[in-house]
């Protein structure tokens, strides 16, 4: 029956595309998580009244974050072509999408990280200082653990944005479900392929959201 509704869908191709989408998503989420936390910490710590208060450094990071967030993703991919070519020696395939995916979403996530860190009780940071904690200890044992639910729900939101970015990256030949939907579906007027790819992506998004909510709830003891 399914073959009647989806006559043109080749399941083997679907699984390959799904794998590529998941691959791009996982690696870029990981990269975004690390880069975003670094940038978010930098934004937070250099802000007024915080541990590394530094007005000029704060402004520089803020400008980088704001500018890169303002660039539409599809243009960012094109702008990063030379960089990607230099880094990976190719501008095609799932790997070639990664630099653009990470650069495109890390600044967005960095802002979410900053918001999460600001929510950490100042009194707890003060208590750690009063105990004689080093800045490093305050970052790794107070700031990050105390903001972890916000960091997790933030990366969930970002991951879902990243899934839709991977579909966009597909259009320029990165592979994945977006690529399949465009090349095999849209270009050949096979609407069933577009529909199947859409369903797969929606399911992936739901799974990510579910996992994110679950982890965030698990670790929140407030």
């Amino acid at each position: 029956m399914l073959t009647n509704i989806f006559p043109n869908v080749d399941m083997e191709k679907m699984w390959v595309a799904t794998y590529e989408t998941l691959y791009m998503t996982f690696i870029s989420v990981l990269g975004t998580f690390i880069l975003g936390i670094l940038l978010g910490l930098l934004l937070y710590l250099t802000n007024k009244g915080n541990l590394w208060e530094n007005k000029s450094l704060n402004s520089i990071v803020a400008i980088i974050v704001n500018v890169s967030r303002a660039i539409p993703f599809i243009i960012l991919i094109l702008l990063l072509f030379p960089f990607t070519d230099f880094l990976l020696g190719t501008i095609r395939g799932p790997n070639a999408a990664l630099p653009a995916l990470i650069v495109g979403s890390a600044p967005f996530y960095a802002r979410l990280v900053e918001i999460g860190l600001r929510e950490v009780d100042k009194g707890v940071i003060e208590a750690a200082k009063a105990m004689g904690a080093k800045t490093r200890t305050i970052i790794f044992k107070v700031l990050l653990p105390e903001s972890m639910p916000a960091l997790i729900s933030g990366i969930t939101v970002t991951a879902i944005a990243l899934i839709s970015y991977t579909a966009m990256a597909g259009v320029i030949g990165a592979g994945g479900l977006g690529d399949l939907a465009y090349m095999e579906g849209f270009q050949r007027r096979n609407n069933d392929v577009v529909l199947a790819c859409t369903i797969f992506i929606v399911v992936i998004v739901f799974i990510f959201q579910f996992i994110g909510d679950w982890i965030s709830k698990r670790i929140d003891h407030r």
Binding site: D121, G123, V124, E126, A127, A128, K129, A130, M131, G132, A133, K134, T137, K141, V142, P145, E146, M148, I219, H221, R222
Partner: protein, 342 residues
Amino acid sequence: MITINNLSKTFKTKDHTVQAVDDVSIDIEKGDIYGVIGYSGAGKSTFVRLINRLEDPTDGEIILNGQDMTDLSKAQLRLERQKIGMIFQHFNLLWSRTVYENIAFPLEIAGIPKANREEKVLELIELVGLKGRENSYPSQLSGGQKQRVGIARSLANDPKVLLCDEATSALDPETTDDILDLLVSINEKLDLTIILITHEMHVIQKICHRVAVMEQGHVVEQGDVLDVFMNPQSKTTKRFVQQLNPQEGSVEELKDFITSDERSKVVKLHFVGHNAKRALISDVSKQFDINVNILQGSISPTQEGAYGTLYVEFQGEPETIEDVMNYVKTTGVGVEVIDHVD
């Protein structure tokens, strides 16, 4: 043990400067429970934060065990802070850690290996009476229990001094008393010096040996709790003392008893320390041919003994009343004749 000389802190903003702490000098002996009381905005919180340099003083010195805190480098300051415990009004526990992990935190900071932490943490949990709650998260505890965790945490590195910044202000009266009892028992058991900031006179009365009264950044009065209570000099101190004895304010009600009759005298008696436990009134009425009419009285227990006041009317021959007053003076109880009410 702690000597504070001419300590000052000025906060500068664009438009104006605020002198939060102004030329404060205090001496605190080892094993003292030293209270600093003042209304909000008096600078007492800033003062206590200067001691472990959560705020950097503008001027003055803080000598703790012969070491001037203001001379320390950043790294030395971190080590010194490990030896100064601190508890807070809002407890400031890490919600992401269990009771056990919260208490172990200062040990982690001090670089004590994991294997050696357990014994200390369990000992502290026992000390503050939280046995069985090791694996609870702060959100599962009551306010009093949270402050117990705060106290255990502050004691983890065997501090010489404990700073309490409004440690009971967020607690209900009953829990406040429990926490104060715990502080006294720690003070006795560990011979720990405690510096306590509060706006509640009750706290000073219950556990402090000595007290400083702060107002607008200055210390307006300091000394033994009993002395300060008995003879409050400044207006602020008088207001605080009155909180303890609400009746003190109602001397007016004595008006009806004050007459020009030579055969009747209204007298205010001050009892301090051991005198408060004497059966003075029955003594007097047995020894002298006189009637004693008790009008009003109160007694306030403090760490250094009780102190109380009693208003009585003596009725009898003028000479006998004179004799009674002389007798009372010899017992060490303060006597004051009230012949008019302001």
